[in-house]
Structures are given as C-alpha cells and as structure tokens.
Amino acid sequence: MDYNFGILSVKVQVTGTKITNVSIGAINDGGNFRSVSIDQQAIPLLEQEAMQAQSANIQSISGASYTSAGFIQSLQSALTQLGL
C-alpha cells in the first residue's frame, strides 16, 4: 500500500455562502515533502462537467482516492475552483 494523506499547505476560499478550504499534501517516494499547486489550466476541461454538477444540485464528489496530482484532474477540484 503506497498511500498516505500527508497534508502540507492550506488554502482557504471565501464565497458569499460558504467557506471552502483545500488542504494539499504530497509525500514523494523518498519520504521528503514537496508542495503541489492546483493547476488552473486543468479547470476549463472540467468546467462543463462541474456546471452540470451544479445544475444537478450536488455539493461534493465521491470517487476512488486520488493523489495530489490526481486531484488536479478531478471533478471535485473543478467544483472547488468554481466555488460551487
């Protein structure tokens, strides 16, 4: 099992109706920490799906566990970035 949930940095977004906080963590193969930033470029690809999520009135996404790198591509990331 090559997986843990080390959390390194915290980002807080405030929107009109809710407070969203994203904790990003990464542990590389050597066990040394590195930081990962959310790639804004990935968002437009997911925007359409996230908008559909909004129209479906969902507030969160459940799926197989992603890594920090996988989060960037995830629907949950798109929801969070769009402040939905």
Binding site: M1, D2, Y3, N4, F5, G6, I7, L8, V10, V12, V14, T17, K18, I19, T20, N21, V22, S23, I24, G25, A26, I27, N28, G31, V36, L45, L46, E49, Q52, A53, A56, N57, I58, Q59, S60, I61, S62, G63, A64, S65, Y66, T67, S68, A69, G70, F71, Q73, S74, L75, Q76, S77, T80
Partner: protein, 242 residues
C-alpha cells in the same frame, strides 16, 4: 504520494466566521496528527514502529488501538474481505484510517452552530447538515470508466465512501486470493460514519457481489457496485437520487 482534503463549511445565520476559521484549522490539525501516527511512509510513525515490532500495541498512542479495534469490526462485518492483517508487510489500516480521520475532523466542525459541513478526503465524504440547513447534501459518484463524469447521485446520510483502482492503479489486496485484485470497477458505501464506510467500500470493491450480501445485513449501511461492464448493483435501500 499525498492527497487533498477539501472542507466546505456552510455558515449559519449566527456563525462567527473567525471562530469557524479556527475550527477549520483545528480540523486540519486532526488530519495531520492522524497522518503522523498512522503513516506507513514515515518510518518513525507509531504505526511503522508497530509494524516492525519495535513497540507493542500498548506502547502506541491510544488511537492506534481505537483504529485497530474498528478494523476488527470491519473485518468481521465484511466476512473477512476487509483485512488489514492479511496485507504483506504488517498490519495496514490505511483502508479505514483516512475515513476515520475525516470523520473526526468533521466532528470538530460540528461543535459550531452552522448549517452544515463537508470534509472530502480524497473522494471519501463525511458531512452533516445540508446546504441551507434543512435539506441533505447530495454527492456525485464518479463514473469509473470515465472519471471526469458522474455515474449517479446519492443523498448522503453522513458518510459516502468510494473505492476503486481507476485513480491510482492496482493497489487493493484480496485477502482470500492473496494477491492484488478487485472484482468490481467501483464500490460505494454510505452510512452514518466514514471510518466504517471507507473500510466496507474497500471490502466491496475487492469482493464484489459477495460483499454486497454482507452489507444488506448491516443496519444503517448501504452499498453500490459498478461492474467493469458499467452495470450497477445496489442494496435495496441505497439512497440513489438518480
């Protein structure tokens, strides 16, 4: 590899935003502390030392016993399909501990007068309340064949956990076949608490339909599997919205 935990807090009419921010920080600390104790990556974590036989269980922090006791419960309820003791390299509660820690983080937020909150730990979701104080949260379930789309939507009873190998590749250990293997493409378990739901989702994706039968027997927990061919199968009271 690390992951990402997302917090969504829906303040109520009387919420104090500064207090809420402090509470979120406390919740994040709960996750850090759990990682420090249970990490199998950190060679000096209490769990790593326990796995190497350097310390006994009664020398580890009390939470280690709490988590391993819950693992025992999950192993029994899943008819052995969730079995941290079968994994080569020593006892590994990873399949439960992330959900357990997220549930604890949520309980920190629950101390405040807010409409609702969600802690999403890498796709395992613990919540209470709802977006406007009356309704429940609705959670999308990722389509394992096309992870940027949804397979369905559920109404959360508090915990929604999903297991699969489409994000990180093969990593789930079948305790009966004694090899890395899963029968389903994705499995979701909903219920009151995320620790047990997380463990049961792991059991369900590994064991497939056989485990669905065990979950039917559990009061408060419901399961859904999505097969490699895209077909879905669920327990009778699974809270599917569509």
């Amino acid at each position: 590899m690390g992951t990402v935990v997302t917090f969504d807090v829906y303040p109520g009419e009387f919420s104090d935003e500064d207090l809420l921010r402090e509470s979120i920080e406390s919740a994040v600390t709960i996750l850090h502390d759990a990682d420090d104790v249970f990490s199998t990556w950190k060679s000096e974590s209490p769990l790593s030392r326990l796995r190497r036989g350097e310390i006994e269980l009664d020398q580890a922090p009390l939470v280690v016993r709490e988590v391993l006791d819950l693992c025992e419960v999950a192993r029994s309820l899943s008819n052995g399909w969730f079995d941290p003791w079968s994994i080569p390299g020593g006892v590994d509660p990873t399949g439960l501990v992330k959900g357990w820690a997220a549930q604890r983080a949520l309980e920190e937020l629950h101390r405040h007068a807010i409409d609702g909150a969600i802690v999403n730990a890498a796709g395992d979701v613990a919540s209470f309340g709802g977006p406007n104080g009356s309704s429940k949260f609705r959670v999308g379930i990722v389509n394992p064949a096309k992870p940027q789309t949804l397979a369905c939507i559920v109404q959360s009873p508090g915990a929604v956990a999903t297991s699969g190998e489409y994000e990180r590749g093969q990593h789930l250990y079948d305790p009966f076949a004694r090899t890395l293997a899963t029968r389903s493409a994705s499995a979701t378990v909903v219920g009151p608490k995320l620790g047990l739901a997380d463990a049961l989702a792991t059991a369900l994706v590994i064991g497939g339909r056989d485990v669905l039968g065990a979950i039917v027997e559990l009061q408060g927990y419901e399961g859904l599997i999505i097969e490699p061919d895209g077909s879905m199968r669920m327990t009778p009271a699974f809270p599917l919205v569509r």
